[in-house]
């Protein structure tokens, strides 16, 4: 389903007043894919989305839609479907009028007939499972329903690409989960090229075909959810994708040692000397002192969803969190050893 390049972002740079928000950023969006722009707030992801939509303007760089340079193309002619973070539904229009807005805004010669518009609105309402809601007003809808209306409104103009800005940001946890699944379903059914912005790793990893991780206005990595998790290209990406434990280590000849002890982690070729080893909480295991890489004392522990999370104070003052399947409860103050089972190393 995914294939040729639908949108190419080339060397995009953008400053606001004096602060740079995008640095020479390039990326390709494949036709039919669901791409997540993932990054912390201030990483420039929303700005990138708005530039693609034609709502913001780059200082430098190009946006190419298919074979057409769209950098100077006015927003009206870009044929993008944009779903705003707070939906931006037209308060004074009914749901049906909201969805039909883009069709009604067309020049008379290009505007579908009234009956056709009505039919399209009906189809879209079916698609978003809000068939009986045509005559309601946005104020009479729940947050999740508004979100779906905003999506239908964007789809009504048959956009080349669907752009969603933090689509689930304003919703509570349960609705958010349902909508995620639903959005994936819609995407699978329509095959619509879609880019969405999020700061929630779970959301990006669960939903997307590919994830583009942004930090400080630069593209850190782009790849499938598996790729970015298994082979993060930088500590930034690794840290942003989940909790990590950071440990000083020494790399030599591809081997990585912590506290003089060999670990199962391998260092990429060329990385030699003091490095940082990063491990996830579940990549550590309690071990006897003689085979442990780290030592410390238990500060506290708690259980959550069948796992046990133990906070361990290390002698140099740092606290690490270890995740273990239900072992016997460890009392606070007990000295423990920790063994590293897996992880990634990057230059310190």
């Amino acid at each position: 389903m995914t294939g040729s390049t639908a949108i190419r972002v080339e060397n995009l740079s953008k400053t606001f007043d004096t602060a740079a928000v995008l640095h020479d950023l390039s990326l390709d969006v494949r036709a039919g894919e669901l791409l997540a722009l993932l990054g912390p707030s201030g990483s420039g992801k929303t700005t990138l989305l708005r530039i693609i939509a034609g709502l913001d303007f780059p200082d430098r760089g190009r946006i190419v839609f298919g074979a057409e340079d769209a950098t100077r193309l006015p927003v009206q002619q870009r044929a993008v479907g944009f779903v705003f973070q707070h939906y931006a539904l037209f308060k004074h229009m009914s749901v049906a009028d909201n969805i039909a807005y883009g069709l009604n805004a067309r020049k008379r010669s290009e505007r579908p007939a009234k009956a056709e518009i009505k039919r399209r609105v009906g189809d879209l309402l079916d698609l978003i499972k809000l068939s009986g809601f045509a005559d309601r007003y946005p104020s009479q809808l729940s947050g999740g329903q508004r979100q779906r209306i905003a999506l239908a409104r964007a789809l009504a103009v048959e956009p080349r690409v669907l752009l969603l800005d933090e689509p689930f940001g304003a919703l509570d946890a349960q609705v958010r989960k349902d909508l995620r699944r639903w959005l994936r379903e819609i995407h699978d059914r329509t095959g619509q090229t879609t880019i969405f912005v999020t700061h929630d790793q779970d959301e990006a990893l669960e939903l997307s075909d590919r994830v583009a991780v942004l930090a400080k206005g630069r593209l850190e990595q782009i790849g499938s959810p598996d790729e970015v998790q298994e082979a993060p290209v930088s500590a930034t990406v690794l840290k942003f994708l989940g909790d990590t434990i950071e440990v000083e280590a020494i790399a030599q000849g591809g081997e990585v040692r912590v506290d003089g002890r060999l670990t199962p982690v391998t260092a990429p070729a060329g990385l030699v000397g003091p490095v940082k080893l990063y491990a996830r909480p579940w990549q550590l295991q309690f071990a006897e002192s003689h085979e442990a890489h780290l030592h410390g004392t238990v500060r506290s522990s708690y259980r959550s969803q069948g796992r046990q999370r133990i906070e361990v104070d290390r002698p140099e003052g740092k606290t690490v969190v270890v995740e273990a399947s239900d072992t016997a409860r460890l009392p606070a103050g007990r000295p423990v050893g920790l063994r590293i089972l897996a992880g990634h190393v990057f230059a310190g």
């Binding site: 004096t18 709502l55 913001d56 200082d59 430098r60």
Partner: protein
């Protein structure tokens, strides 16, 4: 390697919305032609007189007396309006009573009622043979044709300013703050004077300044009740009209300049109060 981006300040942040040039251009044109250019004419004319010329007019006994009456009475009236305005705003936001909405609407009457209409109504009410004037006369108070009449008209005109600047702030007082004060053992009076009132002071001062500025400039509602006796109950705006009818443009400009100067000082004071309030309380 591309050259580093040169961060530059722009006159305007770029936006996809159209019409900035058109609407800003239209706005500036209208503002310039209707407001700024005519006001500049006054400044040009006044600067022709020079400071000494203006001072000469200002110290003319009749003019000085009119300025004294305008500013002095207006300050008193603004004080009255502020006190009762606060009370009215408090009653309107805090208490439920039948007809509250109508009372609330009535507060804006001086905004809506043409000043000339208010002027003749006040004059006939407070004239010695008027409904209120007759009662006041029994108490030995002459209202009409004295500064007392000017005071009454200025309270009338200033009241809505005093009420409407404080009212929204009273609405937004967080009840939890008062409850917190009560749980800490403070009595109601203590809570009011120590917790509720202090944050409202900037708004009260702003309301006072607005009412004061309005009172100083007011013309229509005053001239009928004031009697306009030179040296007694003649106000500065009336003197401008008199000078104009005598074709004494210079004199009119001098008085107007003094009044404008003082309005600007008042405006400045309001802005300073608000800036202080923003720093101190986090809001205007």
């Amino acid at each position: 390697m591309e050259p580093p981006l040169r961060p530059r300040r722009r006159f305007r942040q770029p936006s996809v919305l159209p019409g900035f040039g058109l609407t800003l251009g239209y706005t500036l044109t209208c503002l310039g032609l209707i407001v700024l250019l005519p006001l500049a004419a006054l400044v040009v004319r006044a600067s022709g007189l020079g400071l000494s010329g203006i001072w000469e007019v200002a110290t003319d006994p009749r003019v000085a007396s009119a300025l004294r009456v305008s500013f002095g009475v207006s300050a008193l009236a603004a004080l009255t309006a502020s006190i009762f305005g606060f009370l009215i705003a408090w009653v309107l936001t805090r208490y439920e009573f039948p007809g509250r909405r109508i009372v609330d609407a009535v507060v804006d009457l001086p905004f809506a009622l043409p000043t000339a209409v208010a002027g003749i109504a006040l004059a006939s009410l407070y004239a010695p043979n008027g409904l209120v004037g007759a009662q006041l006369a029994k108490l030995g108070i002459e209202a009409a044709y004295t500064p007392v009449g000017i005071y009454i008209a200025m309270v009338f005109i200033g009241l809505p300013f005093a009420v409407r600047t404080v009212q929204p702030l009273i609405v937004e007082i967080d009840r939890e703050i008062e409850e917190a004060s009560a749980t800490l053992g403070a009595g109601r009076l203590h809570t009011l004077t120590r917790v509720v009132l202090p944050p409202l002071i900037p708004a009260v001062l702003t309301g006072f300044a607005l009412a004061f500025a309005r009172g100083v400039g007011e013309y229509g509602s005053i001239i009928f009740i004031a009697g306009n006796l030179p040296y007694v109950s003649e106000i500065a705006p009336l003197l401008i009209v008199i000078k104009l009818s005598e074709f004494d443009y210079g004199g009119a400009c001098a008085i107007a300049t003094i009044m404008l100067g003082i309005s600007f000082v008042t405006l400045l004071a309001i802005n300073l109060i608000q800036a202080w309030s923003r720093r101190r309380f986090g809001y205007v």
